[in-house]
Symmetry: D2
Subunit: 460 residues, 4 copies
């Protein structure tokens, strides 16, 4: 039994021992084929190896990972088991010229692609929810808050648009990282491909073609910037999810009450002891997952300090840290998606909060209106005085302003009303929402589920 | 299938959902008993609740953790299921006055005790190996190295003694942390124990007695310094393991060759492709586990920033980060233990390395010997000149010194030999080894396996 | 010009190059004295060395730190400069038998004591403010909040008491860490004190006495658990400050309004553009400093992985990370102190917030009151129904309950009122506050400023 | 006095309060000009504001940063001081429509450009050294090492080429990050630019043009992915430097001796006490700086979790963490550059190390040679037997092989010699070196020093 709170099954599958074993076998099959194409090994041997690789290995996985603890890597027992299963004369050509890290790193590249595809699909779903919120609440007034103090009116649509733009940028970034990290590893025991003589570069190219990956300029056994870049990008995605989740938690506070997570009243987030509560469970779990994901990033950055041609500790730390990072990031994305999908926006409460403090957050607007007539500095002094009076007396800014002859001398009642009307003081809000929607509409919908599951198939 | 490379089964068990569920049920049973003792609930109700808590719940765990994802915590569905199973009239007294975090945090305190006991047992085993190495190699000369450059002679026994002292200090620290973190959580929904009227403090005291834990002065739902202190202490243990493992990796280098991890030739660490290799697998995995453990610490420190009376994200992040930290730290301890248990110390190679560079690392000793006669500064200049000559000519320091009349004028041949004898230049090495052994001998052997497994029994 | 936002001058001074140089000179003077006492060097030489160490070195500091970049450590040029300044025949006895890391680490131990004293003084000041808030607001009702949802009534005094208990525990912890980290380093170039012959242990003991520090069992050049423990403890302190600061930020929200940071209206936290705002600047900066401090901890834990007898990178990273950690932690403590000292508690607003949601957070209290008569489960169902009605109708729980014959059948009007009275539903609040106050009163007031500044004097 | 060990003066300057103040003034001047162009403020006002911004402000910086501690940001006092200095009627148009975070974030974008330019210049210098080493040592044989065990022959040129490819990729990455992070911030108090009416987007565009930055689609006050991406990229650069530095430290070990850092015998890295030592100071300091830089990354990722429209703590933490990250990363780059520039490659020692273990690391080559004749599996068994004999007897692989009739039956003496010749077993080494050199040659040389210093000039 595994705690499912931080685990999305599809992502757990990508990083399961079974998937890793399958990906390693795909590498071995593709390597044999590539070497056959390059004339390094007989074509019959490649066929035989490929056939055995495509057999059902699920029963072997447990044995394999037990042996891995002894061998220091699962690739070593996997190659041994594969060698045993392949018949002579093909047997001698298994894993020809490769090292165990070639097997594991190329499998890793394939798993990373799968993981990034799942994340991209999750982010697209998040973006879809946000686009709906951004356009649907384009005009839903609410207080903008700086340092958690009410500042100026905004709309909930603008807030959603900012979240959306953040998500679109993450999709763009992950797309870039995906193409950069999608490269095979093939270097042999010390990164020279010595056992392949002069055919090393050609075999690498063919191998990449077989697997639908890129061929790197050089082997990268201990130059882990590609892995670190993936890690960093996921950390940023996790941070983005944490930002959105954190805002939802704050908006859902009893005293703010501007959103309720469980809009469909399904019962999620109810407390058995305290029936009045409506906890924003998904936002809370997304926030937790975000922190956990970010925690894995420095481990992977620190793991760039790898010794010589194969690291003694730093590489091995990647084996846990990177899957964890994918799992936690996916969990954050998934919880944000659920949170947004069921979000009920309490527009009336937003408006009430906006009005609750005597119109003080229209002070800047009033200043601007006055400034046209008496200069900005005089206007600022006048409004500061008025807000001081409002605060001291508990009266609202409107009544203070109406009673102030210095104000009424230059602003007609109509002009004053306009200056105190939040809907007239939204600046570029509409444009920003349009831009965020347009940018998201340029993001490609993610590939179908089936394709991702089968991404990087050995044989098509 | 789980990758066992970073997982010690006993520690995995401590943090399994099954164990957590069992510990939560122990809390519920003990709470009922404590409340009965305090006259808050009927004694019969406590008996009935205790009986149901001691039933076999294993089948329920999967359902429970699925429900947890909805509820936001496994304690909520557990209390619901328990309530259903308990018969009336006891049913109404289940979880009386408590909140779900009381259940989870007290279970956590029990799990932490179990985890710390396993770590203490592991550290004792490591210490036992080190004590043997320290006394057995008290006089095994080797080069001391600073910034990875040979500096002065030391003995391998001294190195092992330093590691041992490090381990003893960790045992002392974990013992302190154990007593400090072993405290119940009981505060009710907002930390006032309001539902218990005036009996809150008494019930807390009885609850602590029932569970063999301490009663805290106040509930600590969002004051997580105890958890953070546990995390920090484990981070230091992990760092200690990383230090030892790192030194082993360096000593096992081909060009150094002073230790071989697999002294019993069991085949561990052999490379199938490169038969000449003897990889220090356990040291490598310990180093990786150490990094992973340390990576969890800042997540738990950052999780101290918890909101009001229950956190929205930070507490939930603990649920993954703390078990991971225990697992990785235990893995590091376990791998260091295996590494040391099979370590072959190549004393001849150590001596050869000491002698390989022309006796240059006896330069300080020669300086001291000369200084008694000609002052330290003159001695320093003389020896610097001699080492320069040695380096330039490729001759050893002994022959240079013998041919230097400024040296022979004050040092007899016997005195010169003594000055160049590493065994005569070990300073306080013996005393240090004795002290490290004595300090470790003061550490209590860990409690038996059975006790740890059953620690914090529900009924005694 | 340095940005003072995250810097408390006293703490900056402790970690300045000037202070480090002074502390290193104290080590050199004390070492000479200890060696003279042990008969290792002439007493006259120790006097001469001590005299030069006590001269004014401030002019030399800049040169010294420029040279440090070349030498890899400031201790090497310092010893060279000291050697030049000391007259013959004492010159040859400068730094006798020691290595540069002995000088730096012992200076570090002294700086750590100074830093911990400043932190303890800061925490005592924070605790003093909190004790005042805890006792002064013992009965100031406010909503307790879990997952940022109103849950049950608490008092602001209880919240302050929980913060206070957190602070007291940190004082206790820092006191322990202080005694453990206050130990000299003396091992010579490879940790054997070979140059001191058999006198090593005696000299170490005398050195410790001279400096008012402890003598360690063994040198600890690359066993850095003491430093890591200091780091971890500071990380926990920083987390504690972040907890308090975070709560203040949340309480100061416009919609919550339960505290105002700048109670004395000094103008701090005002926004020039938005005159209505009252930003909780100190809480915000404390929160920032807390994050920065915690960020330094994993660097120092990771720096435990030190090679052989002197590390090539990990030790050097401590030189920046540890001072930063002290500076940021002190900044967090200082900002929390300022925040609390000027905090205005808006008791009326707290009460209003408590009442604002129809008395729903008295639901548990009503359940308990009913349970005595009709059993807990029936009571729970009844109250859940009532809160549902209250929520749906917008009416308050009181009026719903009064109109419910199932309630009035068992509860008199008086009993109902009592069940809905928050002041009657505070459980152990008073006891908890008393305990927190009592525990803090057991904390020793910090030593006077002068003593801290002069802590570890070279000559007494 | 500041410890210069981790500080490159040019980078320190970029992040000094003086530079920040200057950049903020550039923003204010450019904003005024942009607003004048858009017809929002009078052109004369923009001229006056620009003139004052270009005055000498250095004397004001200290006052400004003292005031910043009170105000919570240096932008607030700066705008106040600027407003005072600007004459009426322009005074009222200072900072028109902007918020203090607009000022600070745009200044930050400019500082980031400067910082990235310095890093790019540093990386280019590192790459230039590496290109020279890669081509100069193309054929310098050395042992390749996996898990710090000798594995197969490589050349030092290949190792340098791998480092070089790593550096080239970082230059490409930083270039991308530079273009993405180079965008202005302009949103006004709550991100709507309400005070600019409908002109917000136009003013933003003009502002971007004035400053040579991009205009973002939306304000990004609390969507900090751009900053986090910069941080992550620097963390990867730091990791890359740590990789190179770590390898140098390992190669410089006494027992390996394949490189000496201070090739020009300038005296750097000498130990005064131990004249035989040659410490790789620059590599050590680069390693330390790398760790410190990586430590700042999670702080900045964690700081993405910002509240609503302006963060209460997370944004403020950036103010220290990002400059620290730039400083430490630059320090790592600078130390690696110095280390490589003075590196002496001990080719003879490399060859000696390669030969020192009886030719065992030619085992794979021999296997390949035999496999052509007897199949890979038979070959593997034969060679494993031979290496076992070699290890047991202390004889070298060549003599064992020559005496083995199973070998001599299929390999002529010439063929055997070829199989044991490391120069004939380098695989794709040459191609890899060529590729790394070619890729680096495609990197643009960094812009001149003057341009970087003046990058983003206010007036052209």
């Amino acid at each position: 039994v595994t705690n499912p709170a931080f685990s999305i099954p599809e992502m757990a599958t990508v990083w399961s021992p079974e998937s890793q074993a399958r990906r390693m076998l795909e590498f071995e099959a593709a390597l044999a084929r590539a070497e056959a194409r390059a004339g390094v090994i007989p074509s019959d041997a490649a066929d035989e190896i490929g056939m055995v690789c495509r057999e059902d290995w699920n029963d072997a996985v447990e044995i394999l990972y037990s042996a891995a603890a002894e061998a220091g890597t699962p690739a070593i027992p996997l190659v041994e088991m594969l060698t045993e299963r392949v018949k002579e004369p093909a047997r001698g050509f298994v894993h020809w010229g490769a090292t165990s890290q070639d097997t594991m790193d190329t499998a890793l590249a394939l798993q990373i692609q799968d993981g990034l595809d799942l994340l991209l699909r999750g982010l697209f779903a998040v973006g879809t929810e946000l686009a709906s919120l951004a356009s649907g609440h384009r005009r839903t007034l609410m207080p903008g808050r700086t340092l958690l103090q009410q500042a100026l009116p905004i709309t909930f649509g603008l807030k959603a648009a900012r979240w959306l733009a953040l998500v679109s940028r993450q999709m763009i970034r992950l797309g870039e990282v995906r193409s950069r990290s999608a490269c095979v590893q093939l270097g042999g025991a010390a990164g020279t491909l010595a056992a392949l003589g002069t055919a090393g570069v050609t075999v690498t190219q063919y191998l990449a073609e077989e697997l639908g990956l890129a061929a790197p300029l050089l082997p990268w056994h201990t130059e882990r910037d590609r892995i670190a870049e993936v890690a960093a990008a996921l950390g940023v995605v996790a941070g983005a999810m944490g930002k959105i989740a954190g805002d939802v938690v704050l908006l859902a506070q009893t005293e703010v009450g501007e959103v309720v997570e469980d809009g469909d009243e399904s019962g999620r987030g109810r407390s058995s002891a305290l029936p009045q509560k409506r906890n924003p469970i998904d936002a809370v779990m997304a926030s937790a997952a975000s922190r956990l994901a970010i925690g894995a990033v420095p481990v992977l950055l620190g793991s760039m300090l790898q010794e010589h041609e194969r690291a003694a500790g730093a590489w091995q730390a990647e084996w846990e840290a990177l899957p964890d990072l994918f799992r936690f990031t996916m969990s954050a994305v998934g919880h944000v998606k659920s949170c947004l999908a069921g979000l009920r926006v309490e527009a009336a409460r937003m408006l009430a909060n906006l009005d609750a403090y005597g119109g003080l957050l229209m002070a800047e607007s009033l200043t601007i209106a006055l400034a046209e007539h008496i200069g900005r500095y005089q206007a600022y002094l006048l409004v500061r005085q008025a807000t001081g009076k409002a605060r001291a007396s508990g009266r609202d800014l409107r009544s203070i302003a109406r009673a102030d002859t210095a104000v009424t001398a230059v602003l007609s009642e109509e002009a004053l009303e306009r200056a105190l009307d939040p809907t007239a003081y939204l600046g570029s809000t509409d444009t920003y929402i349009d831009r965020a929607l347009a940018e998201f509409s340029r993001q490609e919908p993610p590939r179908g589920e089936q394709q991702t599951q089968d991404g990087g198939q050995v044989d098509g």
